[in-house]
Symmetry: C2
Subunit: 253 residues, 2 copies
């Protein structure tokens, strides 16, 4: 049996957003490796070995998965969302780069998936319908000053922003700092959306403005969307308004 | 029969990347509306009416789809990639905003999908593994000076860039202008990837650097990825190198 490793994203939650390619690999693998919360959403076959771990040390998890593949196992590394967006794929390549040269010949592939911002955007309407940027607000792996600079420049570029990991129990205050930076750069009426646990039973969506929003409602399961100049709210007879970004910007030919 | 409208993304090409939710709606709809090229990738049932159109006037296509839904049809608006990223979803909401108030009560929803940059990133490794921005290089709906400004600020922010629609027959020179801007802002060794028709039979991937790349190879089916400071190439025994962005940046705690 010849080993392989696939980095698989299971999307934001429900099975209806897992691609057929990913579902097939999740079924075909001999070994499933991942963070406990994500593995808990997958039903293993009787023959599969499940290697779950706590959140945190992604590099150790990636090394373990590569080791299993080198031993001939057929390994699915299970990630939330899309594995290439603030998830396991980068950790796997960091492990390959720092690992034994022999592992560079392993049969490794990443399978694309639905990342949280696309699910949140679809739920709201089309807030990512014009140029946007995607930032991880966690400073676990980069200094906070880089995050500050990126927020400022993104605001000056009039990008819509999709902000992952805005807060956690260990980082409760940074989302307030991020709002302070954005409030200094952008108009108070800028549309802000807190999209929590999209597609899951406890989904919660709050549409507000930069001036009025309370950043304290963001937690580690929230994706934050900050609108641009062309982002609009469109009231409906009932329920949340649609939020979308216009394709056409002033001065277009 | 009660009308509805779903904006559906069929991903970059192959069926293995179409979510079960989207596949189900494509099957259940009474009417399929879309650009001819995308509709050509869907096999309609015998009972379905297909309304195809040329590329271009997305707003007219969106209005037609809304009209069908208002008449009680169950309409899938078929988009490439993810419908919310430089695709049909924004046009549908622009049509709702400028259309009759009665249409705001229609049963409308957007279904998330796999957008081109996620498929391209997965094919390459994990170039979007750190903060990134997503720009549409077409100036059909926004002035070129906005694109120039966004490119400059994105470079200063050290974002990885996913650049959609870098060139077309009508816009052959702008990708050269974009490269000139990026070359003035970023080191010559910055990783650049031309990802053409990812997942389709004529897929072509070129990995190069900002200093050496020839922008002329970009066309309307190319997604361009421009790396950041933390983006690395990792040689393999054969085939293309892996391209990935490190999660950790200098000065991290």
């Amino acid at each position: 049996m010849s080993g392989w490793l696939r980095v698989v994203g299971i999307g934001p939650g429900p099975e209806r957003w897992i691609t057929p390619e990913s579902a097939e690999v999740l079924h075909a693998a001999t070994d499933l490796v991942g963070y406990r919360t994500y593995l808990g959403r997958v039903t293993p076959t009787a023959a599969q070995r499940v290697h779950d771990s706590d959140n945190g040390d992604e590099l150790a998890r990636a090394r373990h998965a590569l080791q299993l593949a080198a031993e001939g196992k057929q390994v699915a590394v299970v990630s939330g969302g899309d594995p290439g967006v603030f998830a396991m794929a980068s950790a796997v390549f960091e492990a390959i780069e720092s690992g034994p040269l022999s592992q560079r010949a392993l049969d490794v592939a990443v399978l694309p998936g639905v990342t949280a911002m696309l699910a949140a955007a679809a739920r709201l309407g089309a807030p990512l319908g014009n140029d946007f940027c995607t930032l991880n607000l966690s400073d676990n792996l980069k200094p906070w000053r880089i995050i500050e600079t990126r927020l400022r420049l993104a605001a000056q570029a009039d990008f819509v922003m999709a902000l992952y990991n805005p807060a956690s129990r260990a980082r409760p205050t940074q989302v307030h700092e991020a709002f302070a930076i954005l409030r200094a750069e952008l108009p108070a009426e800028t549309v802000v959306v807190f999209a929590k646990a999209i597609g899951r039973p406890d989904e919660e969506v709050t549409v507000s403005t930069l001036g009025e929003a309370d950043p304290a409602i963001a937690d580690m399961r929230t994706l934050l969307i900050v609108g641009a100049r062309g982002t609009r709210c469109l009231a409906r007879p009932e329920g949340l308004p649609w939020v979308y970004s216009r394709r056409r910007l002033d001065g277009a030919p």
